[in-house]
C-alpha cells in the first residue's frame, strides 16, 4: 500500500484533474520531488529551495508536519498526506 496524497483544487490542473495521487515512502520533500517527475510543476508550487512554502500546510494522517519535522517528516506505506492552502480568518 503506497502513500496517498490528497491534492487541493488549485493543484489539480497539474495532476490531470486527479484529487488523489500515490507516491513512495520517505521524507515529505523527497515524496514531493518524486511526484514532480510525474506531474511537472507540482514541487515548484508547494516548495521553494527544498522548503515548504509559507502558505502551504501539509498534514500526515491529519497532523500538521510543522508539529513534526516539517519537510523532513518521514512518511510510510499507508499514510495519507493532505496538501492544504493556508486559510483562516475564522473565529
Amino acid at each position: 500500500m503506497p502513500v496517498t496524497v490528497k491534492i487541493p483544487v488549485p493543484l489539480q490542473r497539474i495532476t490531470e484533474g486527479k484529487e488523489e495521487v500515490t507516491g513512495e515512502p520517505g521524507t515529505i520533500i523527497a515524496l514531493i520531488n518524486s511526484l514532480d517527475k510525474q506531474y511537472p510543476g507540482l514541487a515548484e508550487r508547494i516548495s521553494e529551495d527544498g522548503k515548504l512554502r509559507r502558505f502551504v500546510n501539509v498534514y500526515v494522517n491529519e497532523e500538521d508536519v510543522r508539529f513534526m519535522k516539517n519537510e523532513e517528516t518521514e512518511v510510510k506505506d499507508g499514510d495519507e498526506i493532505s496538501i492544504v492552502p493556508a486559510i483562516a480568518g475564522g473565529r
Binding site: R13, P85, A86, I87, G89, G90, R91
Partner: protein, 413 residues
C-alpha cells in the same frame, strides 16, 4: 460602485479576476482585493461619508462589491467610547474603546465581515453559505444568512461554549459540530469547500469577507474627527483584523480622508495561543503553529494564516505584541466592566490585559492616544467568568433581612 480592479496575490503579485477564489494558483499565497484608489479619491469625501446612514456601508466605495449591498444594512458604526475612568486607572492620557460588543445583529465585529461576504456571495449567485468558526462567525453567518434567505452550513469545534452553540441554533442553520479544534475544523472545511459549490465565507469568499474588517478602522478615524490614533491594540486570531485595520488607515490617507498617519499597531493574544506574539517577541519571520489552550476560544487559532502579515504590520509601524494568561484575561474583563460599563467577551479581556502589560513594560506610551479594539460581547462567553464574580446577597423579602446586608456592606466600605 465598481472601484474594484481585481484580485492580486500578496506573495507573488499575480493578478486574478473577481471570482470566488482565494489562493494564488502559483504560490498558494492569499489573494487580496485591489481598488482603484485614484478613482475613489475624487468621489468618496468626508462630507459624502458623513451624509450617509450610520452603518458600515457608508464606506462602500472601499468595499469589494460591484452592486449595491444587500446584507447587513444595519451593521457597523459602533460607538467609539472615550474611556476616561479606565484611562485614569491605567495612568493613560487618552484612551478609547472601539465598542463592537454592540454590533448589529450578533454583537461581535464578525457582523461586519459577514455583511460584506454575504452581499458578495449573493452577487456571485450562491444560494448556500458556509463557514468554519469558533463561534462568533457561526453566530453571524447564521443570523445574516437567515435574513438574506440563504441556506447555511456552519462548522464549529464541538467543544465550543454552550451559549455560542445555542446562539447560532436559534437561527436554525445546519450546524455541524466537529470533534477537533478550530484548525481541524478549518482543514476539514477546505476539503468540503473543494467538493461543494458553496460560498464559504472564510475560504472561497475570504478575500472579500476580510475586507469588511476595514470598516472598524475607517470608523475609528472618522469618530476621532478624521485623525489616526497614536496607537491601536488589536486582538489576533488569524491576524486578519490587525492587517485590515492597518490597510484601512493607509487607504484613508491615500484618498485624503486623513492627512497624517503615524500609528503604532499592537497585537494582543492569549498566552495559551500566541503564535503571532511569540514571533514578534522572538523577532522571527516564521509563525510556529501551536495547539491552543486558552479561555479565549474566539482567538484560538493555532495556525494563523495572516500571522506573517500581522507581524509585518507590527514591525513596520513600530508597534509590539503582548500576551495574557487566563487569569489576567478574566481580571481585565471585570476591570473594563466596572470602569466603563462595557462587558466584553474573552477576546476583549485579552486586548485590555495585553495593553496593561504593554504599558507596564514601557512598550506602549501612557501619553499616546490609544484605541482598544473590543470585538465581542461578554454575554457570548459568560462561562468564562463563572466563579470569578462576586455572589448575590441572598435575603428574605423583608426590611430586616435587607438591613442586615446593608450593615455588612457598610462595614466593608
Amino acid at each position: 460602485m465598481g472601484f474594484v480592479k481585481g484580485l492580486k496575490c500578496r506573495e507573488c503579485a499575480r493578478e486574478y479576476p473577481i471570482d470566488p477564489i482565494y489562493v494564488c494558483e502559483f504560490c498558494f499565497g492569499p489573494l487580496e482585493v485591489v481598488y482603484d484608489l485614484e478613482g475613489i479619491k475624487g468621489v468618496l469625501t468626508r462630507e459624502l461619508i458623513e451624509s450617509r446612514p450610520q452603518n458600515l456601508w457608508r464606506y462602500k466605495e472601499l468595499l469589494p462589491l460591484d452592486k449595491e449591498p444587500t446584507v447587513g444594512l444595519h451593521s457597523g458604526f459602533t460607538p467609539l467610547v472615550r474611556a476616561d475612568k479606565l484611562a485614569k486607572h491605567l495612568g493613560m492620557r487618552e484612551l478609547y474603546i472601539k465598542d463592537d460588543t454592540v454590533t448589529h445583529p450578533t454583537l461581535s465585529f464578525k457582523d461586519r465581515v459577514v455583511a460584506v461576504a454575504l452581499s458578495k456571495a449573493k452577487e456571485f449567485g450562491f444560494d448556500t453559505v458556509a463557514c468554519a468558526s469558533t463561534g462568533n462567525l457561526a453566530h453571524s453567518v447564521s443570523a445574516h444568512g437567515a435574513a438574506a434567505g440563504l441556506k447555511r452550513y456552519i462548522f464549529i469545534p464541538a467543544t465550543l461554549e454552550k451559549s455560542k452553540i445555542i446562539a447560532s441554533l436559534a437561527y436554525e442553520p445546519n450546524l455541524i459540530a466537529v470533534d477537533g479544534n478550530y484548525d481541524d475544523v478549518n482543514r476539514l472545511c477546505s476539503e468540503v469547500a473543494n467538493k461543494y459549490n458553496w460560498a464559504f465565507v472564510n475560504i472561497n469568499i475570504r478575500p472579500f469577507y476580510a475586507e469588511g474588517s476595514k470598516t472598524q478602522g475607517y470608523e475609528i478615524l472618522e469618530q476621532l474627527g478624521w485623525k489616526a490614533p497614536d496607537a491601536v491594540v488589536v486582538p489576533c486570531a488569524s491576524g486578519s483584523l490587525l492587517t485590515k485595520i492597518w490597510k484601512s488607515f493607509k487607504e484613508a490617507q491615500e484618498i485624503g480622508l486623513i492627512s497624517d498617519l503615524d500609528t503604532k499597531v499592537y497585537s494582543a493574544q492569549a498566552t495559551g495561543c500566541s503564535p503571532i506574539v511569540a514571533a514578534i517577541k522572538a523577532n522571527e519571520d516564521v509563525i510556529r503553529p501551536v495547539k491552543p489552550n486558552t479561555v479565549a476560544k474566539s482567538l484560538a487559532i493555532g495556525n494563523p494564516a495572516d500571522g506573517f502579515y500581522a507581524k509585518q504590520v507590527v514591525n513596520n509601524t513600530g508597534g509590539d505584541g503582548e500576551d495574557a494568561s487566563d487569569a489576567e484575561i478574566i481580571d481585565a474583563i471585570k476591570l473594563m466592566a466596572r470602569t466603563e460599563g462595557i462587558f466584553a467577551e474573552t477576546a476583549g479581556g485579552v486586548t485590555l490585559a495585553s495593553t496593561i502589560k504593554l504599558l507596564e513594560s514601557g512598550k506602549l506610551d501612557r501619553d499616546a492616544c490609544t484605541v482598544l479594539c473590543i470585538t465581542g460581547n461578554g454575554l457570548k462567553t459568560k462561562e468564562a467568568i463563572v466563579g470569578h464574580t462576586s455572589e448575590p446577597h441572598h435575603i428574605e423579602p423583608n426590611m430586616k433581612s435587607f438591613e442586615a446586608v446593608m450593615d455588612k456592606l457598610k462595614k466593608n466600605d
